[in-house]
Amino acid sequence: MTLLHALLCSLAAFSALCLAMERHHEEALGEALVVARQRALRGLALGALAFSTLMLWQRPDFGIAAAEWVAQLSLAGLAVVALATWAPRWLAPVAAAAGAAGLLLALIA
């Protein structure tokens, strides 16, 4: 459950970071990236990444939880690359859904 929550949040975070890059933004949303939006996306990414550690602190063995957290970061990054490569149009919707699911999971757990 912790791992899933972290993965959903990191997925949203990495997607936002990816969308904050000109080339990927254009491919994913079909419009040019403006500076204000870039800043907002990066801020959002930072927030989501911080939020992904939320359930980490409650775990009995922090070392194991931290190792899992780092591993899921790579997994989320790979998922974003796959989306940006083969389904760029889905990047933003998937990121939004992942972020929402992450929030929901934190609320019910």
Partner: protein, 539 residues
Amino acid sequence: MAWLHTWVGLVLGWLLFAIFLSGTLAFFRQELNLWGRPELHGLATGRAEARLDASELARAERTLQALAPSAQGWRLTLPDERRAGANLSWRDPAAAPGQRGRLEQRWLDPQGGAPIEARDSFGAGEFFYRFHFELRSAQQSRWIQEGRWLVGLATLLMFVALLSGIVTHRRFFKDFFTFRPRAKAAQRAWLDAHNVSGVLVLPFYLLITFSGLMILHAQYLPAGIAAAYGKEAGAYFAELTGDPARAARARESASSKDLKDAKGVLPMIGEAGWTALLAQARAQWPQGRIEAVALQREGGQTRVEIFRHEGDRLQYRAPRLVFDAATGRRLHLVDTEAPAARTYGVLHGLHMARFAGWPLRWTLFGFGLLGSAMIATGLVLWCVKRRAEAERRQAKPGFGHRLVGVLNVATIAGLPLAMAAFLHATRLLPLALAQRPDAELRVFFAAWGLALLAAALGAGWRRLFAAAALAFAALPASDAVQGLSLSGSGTLLGVQLAFGMAALLLAFLAWRCGSPLRRQVTARPAPVPPVAGQLEGAP
């Protein structure tokens, strides 16, 4: 720095690929071991440790007495979510002085405790594990130390390749999420694949490479230990593991060889004794599981050791409690809190990943495959780059280019084929065969050699990948023919599914590689643009 990355990667790339791929499979060492011994398929995995009771230990003790009255020590490893059936192992007394006795093992049926003898096998997962860090070529190989040195050298150069790769990759952050498999230039697509597989999983590669070096630091860097501890190397390991008996033991074995020959029947602890010992262990680790219980005779003393489960924490090895077998008195807890020793233990633990549950285990397995892909794409890239240059100069590829091409095919496509052949061998070789484990390993190396020969004769990517795909697909098929029932065992079902997925992946690679014949035919009328993701370098 680019030349360093290129040449370090090329020279040991093939060996690194083999180390990485076999290490990746070793994440499922227990599961593969179980799959390779059909005699144990009826035993259940995932027993709650809480049910370990003294009567079971007393029963195991009686079983051992009946099986091997002259054994000088034994170990009972309990089943967990990955291992099926309690494993009872012991070493027979050596036939001649200076030799080590044969390691025997049985599995205990949870109902009734009857010992089950499984086939004589190296262990399907055990071999990948041993090959991964010592290039094991036989059960009693004479080359284990040399193998460890070679793997150490390769690991060091892997570390160099990783660090120089980060420096060489100028667009590290700009291309962080960029993969263009349909790029016009094949080189572009291959470089992207190499970068993406390298950058995103970099924490895993850096950790696994560095910890891999550190695990055997005592072998690779003995000078520091010798300078600080002199001849008392045992004291160093005593501090590292937190085992005070270790230093004493090292002194003892050096001074009094005759004590070792004092042999007799091991004492029986009995159910009442075990109850007291288990209670002490549970008081020591209220949250912990017990992984194994062992009885050891060393010098004049017989000791009981109770091991905490290795998956309970990051730090490796797990702590263990040591008792005097004669009196039941607690001697000491083998564990360390010293910062340096703990750092080493955590690095070791992160490498072994005993703590990893199923989601993390599969994730790490995927990262291992991706690391193998990173090494493979790097090797292919070397060929693609030089082929592009040769075509520009309209020169024929030289001997070196062809050699690298052949070795690439033989390693990247040949190794999976050899692995599948080995897995078949663990199941299909006659059970009465003498030295059966060695025969299994010979099948592995013979299949790999044949793949090299085939590659040298021009078999190419497609054929070898297709052969490997067929070999993997034949594994579940062969199980079905042997009439093995897999119902009720998630582990075995998972292994079967993984074989199926490996077959699909290899078939996909074979399909994408295209037949070299067809490419030549279609290339004659009009030069066809290279298919995206096409593997180059086929001779």
